[in-house]
Amino acid sequence: MLDIFQYSFIQNALLAGCIVAVIAAITGYFLIVRGLTFAGHALPNIGFAGAAGAVLLGIDPVLGLFVFTIGAGIGIGLLGREVNERDTSIGVLMTLALGLGILFLALYHGYAERAYSILFGQIVGISQSDVLITIISSVLVFAAILLLFRPLLFSSFDPEVAEARGVPVRLLSIVFLILLAIIVSLSVQIVGTLLVFTLLVGPPATAVRIAKSPLRAIVLAVVLGVCYTFLGIYLAALNGVWPVSFFIAALSFVVYLPVRLLSPLWRERAARKGDLDKVPSAEKKAHETTTGQTAEQIPGTFR
């Protein structure tokens, strides 16, 4: 059972997969707190269109991948803060990109193997130089996130106060999306379009429901991401037929589901004692807002 670890392609897959899992979990935490989950879904798909376009033009698909994801990242960063409006724009942009990707593949006469490998990943076909590139880029992105950590978190939580305190909120938003685009472009080549999104969102989505502070949430997300990836690759190698992507996505879901269902219970219990004026649910908050406004109309109205 353990002899599969002797194969160098399995070793490379585990190493590269786990590095991607670490950096994706860290980036994914900010993705979630900034309400950018949908952008995390769109970028890999847009990147696929870029790769397909590059294949058609006869240039390196990796170049097309980076150009499209970074371009889309900057575009999304410029879209502004209103989540609903932004997500609609991202959705339109992404469908256009997917349409283009399909067109590019149709126009290409021949088997666009490298474009397909970007769609599905090639985790068991990773060379040592791929591993090295992944390590170096991940370290650079990690350093960048470390440098941006406080203002990034501050502006995620409260962009208005952050701006008043001199944080370049808009610029940060764009820089973060460029970092995200880099991570997506790197990871997509290893784990494929589907899995990038799984690794970006799955572990941090579970972690923020369990952990109480940002630091703990990030550490937990990293641990979960590495466990899913390691186990997923191991199980896929043992099984030999079912793909890695399936195992990782399934593991992520199997852990998320009970946490999502049960977390309201332990959150209630974690609340401190003597909380007389606690507001238990969003519904009640919404209700209070309406009544508050109605009452205000009486003394202050001019209608």
Binding site: A162, R165, G166, R272, G300, F302
Partner: protein
């Protein structure tokens, strides 16, 4: 005589062709507690953003603490209009307050006893120590508001700008926040501009009222401003101020 904390002269603010504030001039002194009142969309939040340097006047001069307003001024504490804080942020009360201390600085803050002590001090000032480690999603509107005030106070500002801190609170919590802000204002000699919808809970504690309507302002003692004559003039239409049940009601004849 000290120079005013806030001084506006002939200020006009406009977005595109829409003029929000026109010909505004007033001065506010150190340590004053000012209620900023006026109908929705009159420009109350815009005025705060002007003082923070987030928007620039189209004409006129604005001076805050003797200088033109700039972003990142540590001498101004700001708590914007409150919204329901997200459940999925994995933030504790002390993390929110901590942003006020070093959230604008690059890099990563390692947990330190000194940092914690300063945050505890701020939490204590707003009576929030008991829920310092609670996740923010567990806190009520009043508790979250106290955290935002603590956050705004962490840099020891000379000017505190609070945008609608009393909205969405029941009467008891409202009184708690009013008492808290008054205590902070008097103890620290900090100038407070508090934006509100209803002047009644603030009447016992404020020094002056800044009323904004139709792009103009009127500044003065509550009884000088909140009366039928002054408000009718400010609105340019018939407005009645009625006193009933120990409260002031502003009743408009037309829009």
């Amino acid at each position: 005589m000290q120079e005013p904390v806030i001084e506006l002269e002939q200020v006009r603010v406009q977005f595109g062709r829409r003029v929000l504030l026109e010909n505004i001039s007033f001065a506010i002194e150190q340590g004053e507690f000012i209620a900023v009142l006026g109908p929705n969309g009159a420009g109350k939040s815009t005025l705060l953003k002007l003082l923070l340097g987030l928007i620039k006047p189209a004409s006129g001069t604005v001076r805050v603490l003797g200088r033109p307003p700039t972003r990142g001024n540590k001498e101004i504490g700001y708590a914007p209009q409150h919204r329901v804080l997200e459940a999925d942020l994995a933030l504790r009360a002390r993390d929110v307050v901590g942003f006020g201390l070093d959230g604008n600085r690059w890099g990563f803050s390692l947990p330190s006893a000194r940092r914690n002590a300063r945050i505890d001090e701020a939490l204590e000032e707003v009576n929030a120590l008991s829920f310092a480690d609670a996740p923010i999603s567990q806190l009520s509107g009043g508790e979250q508001q106290r955290l935002l005030i603590a956050q705004a106070l962490l840099t020891n500002p000379r000017l505190l700008l609070l945008d609608e801190p009393l909205s969405n609170l029941d009467i008891t919590r409202e009184q708690e926040i009013v008492a808290l802000v008054e205590r902070v204002c008097r103890a620290r000699q900090v100038t407070v501009l508090l934006v509100a919808h209803d002047v009644n809970p603030l009447l016992p504690v404020i020094d002056r009222v800044l009323y904004i309507a139709r792009g103009h302002t009127a500044l003065g003692r509550p009884d000088e401003i909140i009366n039928s004559d002054t408000l009718s003039q400010l609105y340019g239409s018939n407005v009645e101020v009625v006193q009933a049940l120990g409260r002031l009601f502003v009743v408009g004849a037309e829009t």
